[in-house]
């Protein structure tokens, strides 16, 4: 068996030794250097831009502006953003090109002989702006005094989902208790190791070629083709090694300007490649974030613990452009009622434009925000009802055959009850209280035992696997079998991106298993639109599920050809999962997804009541992966997700004031260090097969992130009796909450 083995990652050697090329490492010899220039303006109209001083620099080769972009618009799901903000745009874009709606709107791409000269050229640009009032946050946006996108509808709240299910009056009448609160969720920065970078050049077949690190080659290809108004045979997108993504590479950064520069310069006979590398500050300022938002929730339940009604109104800050807000919002909408059977529901979820950094894809894709609300509500209901929070969940959980919040049956293979019970048992929930002696207190500032409180918390969640809401989901694979009498070598061509999660290793394990050959005989050619088909993105926990199914299909096709005597035997296959639906705009009725993942977490916490420092001891993460193709890689995903969620819940505190990020460096944006992360993460891998998954696989990469913040808040409540409806749980926030609740400061 190859599936189920802890194979060493195929990219491990190159990454450990430094041989692997990331985009920043690509050959700089003889290359030109590009500098993306940000507007620095949260909201302003460009009045004039003078590039002559920059172009007068003998080492500056070219300055590309809005006037150079044939179709000056882009966007993954709506073309609402100019490629370059500026004047004299001749393209056909609907969105005004001369307005900067965000401090990192790109206004120019300066190409020069050296990185220093490109910096000089950028500094020499003379730009005149007419200031416009900046829409700083959701409240400001909802007043609609200033419109971020006047071309789009009649409000900054530009996208809405609704659910109308059952009879709310009956639901409230039935309820013995009601829990109602407003929750505030923060931005989060992806903080991947490798900032945005890439190289643009003309390849040997004359194609404009962009080598970058992204999540979906064909999407980037499509965006370039649209902006440059070119056909598919003219452009090629290739991925190098990718230094983390987490959703942060789903939208464009350097792709379009690199293609633009390579194309335009080649027309002038300049064929040197153009290389560009963003600094950390540029990366933090220049790409989208996990959405911040505010959600009001009111839930009712009977005294025996049956949920009777869920009402919720939520807002996510889309920032200046849609990016994937409409999809993220949909996911928040589906998860804000939790993984429970809800008879009566009234849920409104709004996406709101502001002049801040766009919200977009980030591991969990709306579910962390939704789950924080749902699980906090559930834990408060449990307290109010005097019912154990795990027991309360089991009484309401979605199960096989359940009708979901969108009033259709969930896809088969609902394992939420088993996952909740699995986490309960694994964590010895209810039998083992958290002990101070088991928990380290904050290491660099020791606390006395009598100033430390401890607690345990529980939360669970579910999230879709694969694209939702009727998006045309598919995944291509091509398998070639070489040999005479026996299969000596099997080659996979696949577009699925290995963003660091180990996807390519899992692909080859599944291929070896499917083809019935030793893993040493399989190899892969990945992520090149010149040779691989469209596999969709590395996102939505979908790759193992989708790619696995495509590989199974292509391998079967190749095996047939092999039996027919073809040498090499080639199989091409496009896997298409069951269709999903857009939700009814008024009632939310519809089948949004074809598969789900399920997860539960129990967390042990210690808090220093004088400083507000939180330490997390043990985290038990029970996650149903359907079938573990490579258990070690799954543990890596669980531990990584928990650590990333730990930063989200406790320390990462992006400060955005009047549209400007105040802490774009890691000295001020505090991702957890090795001494901050939980003492122990128990990756409790459940294997309850997804009936449609390849080998039973479920998607899992996002799941362990999702319930963490709610579990930590529940543990903090268990420790102190105080609920926190907003995070990150920085020491100052925790201390303020404790003091407001009457904790006295013992000196």
């Amino acid at each position: 068996m190859t599936v189920g083995d802890n194979r060493t990652r195929i990219d491990a050697h190159g990454k450990v030794t430094g041989e692997a090329d990331y985009p920043a490492d690509l050959p700089a010899e003889g290359a030109l250097h590009g500098k993306v220039v940000f507007s620095g303006q949260a909201h302003a109209r460009m009045v004039a831009m003078d590039t002559s001083a920059a172009l007068a620099d003998p080492e500056v080769v070219a300055v590309f502006t809005a006037a150079d972009v044939p179709v000056n618009e882009y966007g993954l799901t709506m073309f609402d953003q100019p490629v370059l903000v500026g004047l004299n745009a001749t393209g056909i874009a609907d969105v005004a090109s001369d307005v900067s709606r965000w401090e990192a709107d790109q206004i120019a791409f300066v190409v020069a002989e050296s990185a220093e000269a490109a910096e000089r050229g950028a500094a020499a640009l003379e730009v005149e702006w007419e200031q416009l009032p900046a829409v700083a946050d959701i409240d400001h946006a909802l007043r609609d005094e200033v419109r971020v996108h006047p071309e789009s509808g009649d409000s900054n709240a530009y996208y809405t989902y609704r659910i109308r299910k059952g009879d709310m009056e009956a639901g409230w009448a039935e309820a013995d208790v009601i829990v109602e609160d407003t929750y505030v969720v923060p931005h989060q920065e992806h903080a991947y190791l490798q900032p945005e970078a890439g190289i643009g050049y003309i390849d040997s077949e004359g194609r404009i070629t962009v080598k970058v690190a992204g999540q979906w080659t064909y999407e980037e290809l499509g965006q370039i083709l649209h902006a440059l108004d070119l056909t598919e045979d003219k452009v090629r997108v290739v991925y190098t090694a990718i230094g983390g993504a987490f959703g942060g590479r789903e939208d464009m950064s350097v792709q379009i300007v690199l293609a633009l520069a390579a194309w335009k310069l080649s027309q002038q006979g300049e064929t040197r490649p153009i290389h560009t590398v963003w600094s950390r500050e540029e990366s933090v300022v220049g790409h989208h974030k996990r959405h911040r938002g505010r959600i009001h929730a009111k839930w009712g339940a009977t005294k025996d613990g049956r949920i009777t009604a869920v009402e919720s109104v939520g807002y996510l800050d889309a920032g200046a452009y849609n990016y994937t807000t409409n999809k993220v919002l949909g996911n928040m909408h589906l998860t804000v009622g939790g993984a429970y059977e809800i008879p009566n529901a009234h849920i409104d979820s709004h996406g709101v434009y502001t002049n801040t950094v766009p919200g977009g894809a980030f591991r969990g894709f709306g579910a962390p925000q939704g789950a924080f609300v749902a699980e906090s509500q559930m834990n408060k209901l449990a307290e109010k009802l005097g019912i154990d929070p795990v027991e309360l969940r089991l009484r309401n959980t979605l199960q096989e055959g359940s009708i979901g919040i969108t009033q259709v049956e969930l896809p088969a293979g609902v394992s939420m009850p088993e996952v909740i019970a699995g986490c309960r048992d694994r964590s010895e929930w209810g039998t083992r209280p958290a002990q101070v002696s088991d928990l380290k207190v904050f290491e660099s500032l020791p606390s006395a035992t009598d100033r430390t409180r401890t607690g345990r918390g529980f939360a669970c969640s579910y999230k879709n696997v694969g694209f939702s809401f009727g998006f045309p989901e598919r995944c291509d694979a091509r398998v070639e079998m070489y040999g005479d009498d026996e299969i000596e070598r099997v080659v996979l061509h696949h577009g699925g991106a290995d963003v660091g999660q180990g996807a390519h290793t899992a692909f080859l394990q599944m291929l070896a298993e499917a083809a019935g050959v030793d893993i040493e005989r399989v190899e892969g050619v990945f992520s090149d639109t010149g040779s691989s088909g469209d596999s969709g993105s590395a996102s939505a926990s979908r790759l193992s599920w989708m790619a696995g199914n495509s590989i199974l299909g292509a391998s079967e096709e190749a095996a047939k050809a092999w039996l027919d005597g073809d040498r090499p035997a080639v199989g091409e296959f496009r896997f298409v999962p069951p269709a999903t639906e857009t939700l009814d705009p008024d009632t939310g009725v519809g089948q949004p997804n074809f598969a789900y993942g399920y997860v539960a977490e129990a967390v042990d916490l210690a808090v220093d009541i004088d400083t507000g420092h939180i330490s997390i001891g043990s985290v038990v993460c029970s996650t149903d992966v359907g079938r573990a193709i490579n258990p070690t890689l799954i543990e890596g995903q669980v531990e990584g997700a928990v650590v990333q969620a730990h930063g989200y819940a406790i320390s990462e505190n992006l400060q955005v004031v009047d549209g400007h990020i105040l802490n774009p460096r890691f000295s001020g944006y505090l991702i957890p260090g090795i001494l901050d992360i939980p003492d122990e993460v128990d990756s409790h891998i459940l294997e309850i097969p997804d009936p449609r998954g390849p080998f039973g696989v479920r998607g899992m990469a996002e799941m362990p992130f999702i319930p963490y913040a709610a579990a930590v808040v529940a543990a903090l409540h268990d420790a102190t009796g105080v609920w926190f409806n907003e995070f990150p749980l920085t020491p100052s926030r925790v201390l303020a909450g404790l003091q407001a609740a009457g904790f006295s400061a013992a000196g």
Binding site: F442, E443, S444, L445, P446, S447, A448, D610, T611, S651, Q655, L662, N663, S667, G668, L670, P672, G673, I674, L675, D676, T730, P731, S732, L735, A736, A745, A746, G747
Partner: protein, 286 residues
């Protein structure tokens, strides 16, 4: 920009005297990030680490002499320094990562004059002295007079700190340093607190002092600590009064690392904890 690395104190003094655009540095752990953040570097950078006297670390009956450019790692690994000034060594060991520890120096940490510098409170509470040198010769000042405000020292043009001096501590005397950061490591103090405590045979306080960092433009020596504690056994009530004195003595600012109120509160918490820690250490020396 010119890099130069003199090997004697005299040579370095001459370089500074002859070039007003010269600046000394040791580990460059502040200089490089500042340059990366866009600050223009001085025309002449004088590396002090090749000068043996500035890398010196020695102790005799008179006291300690610590070269201004000696690395933090070297101080942290010196077992006798650790046993005589555990708080100072704690403070120095908190600066940056392991890699930074091998570059950073006391001289750099103090002369960068950040209000949040970890070594400041410990050096002041232990009444260290700075030996300053220029072509005009040597002069020695109390460490509390070295830093005047954020980024500003009392050094005159052409001067640099050659070394620091500390007395040998008396018996039953010890120091301690604690700092508050949101993150456990690799972070900058929101509040730092150093304490020095002396006790008698019965564990009663005979002397005590607290100096705070990151709560004002310079380190703050909290007044009235000795008056509250001398004669006490560091009981809760006395410590609580000391905490209140510290909160009161702060002159903090609101910034993205913390509010004024939060800093005042934490200064009090740290005062209690750091005095208790120093008192335990002093008593153990009996």
């Amino acid at each position: 920009m010119m890099y130069t690395a003199p090997v004697t104190v005299d040579e370095a003094c001459q370089l500074l005297a002859s070039n007003s655009a010269a600046k000394v540095f040791a580990g460059a752990t502040d200089l490089l990030p500042q340059a990366q953040a866009g600050r223009r570097l001085e025309d002449v950078l004088v590396d002090l680490k090749r000068i043996p006297r500035l890398m010196n670390l020695e102790v005799d009956d008179q006291g300690w002499t610590i070269g201004a450019a000696a690395s933090a790692a070297r101080l942290a690994e010196h077992s006798q320094l650790r046993s005589e000034y555990p708080g100072l060594v704690e403070a120095v060991a908190l600066i940056g990562s392991d890699q930074i520890q091998n570059r950073a120096s006391l001289g750099g940490n103090l002369c960068n004059a950040s209000p949040a510098a970890d070594s400041g409170p410990s050096m002041v509470v232990n009444e260290a002295r700075a030996v300053i040198v220029s072509t005009a010769g040597f002069r020695t000042i109390p460490i509390a007079d070295l830093v005047r405000g954020p980024g500003e020292t009392s050094l005159e043009p052409g001067e640099f700190v050659a070394e620091f001096q500390l007395d040998r501590p008396a018996a039953r005397r010890a120091d301690a340093y604690l700092r508050f950061t949101p993150r456990t490591e690799m972070d900058i103090a929101v509040v730092g607190a150093a304490a020095r405590v002396a006790v008698d045979d019965a564990g009663r306080c005979t002397d005590a002092a607290v100096v705070l960092g990151a709560v004002a433009p310079t380190t703050v020596r909290v007044g009235g600590i000795a008056e509250e504690l001398v004669g006490s056994t560091f009981d809760e009530e006395a410590l609580a009064r000391c905490a209140a004195l510290s909160s009161e003595a702060c002159r903090p600012i609101d910034d993205k690392r913390g509010t004024k109120e939060f800093r005042r509160h934490i200064a009090g918490v740290l005062t209690t904890r750091v005095l208790r820690l120093a008192a335990e250490r002093a008593s153990e020396q009996r």
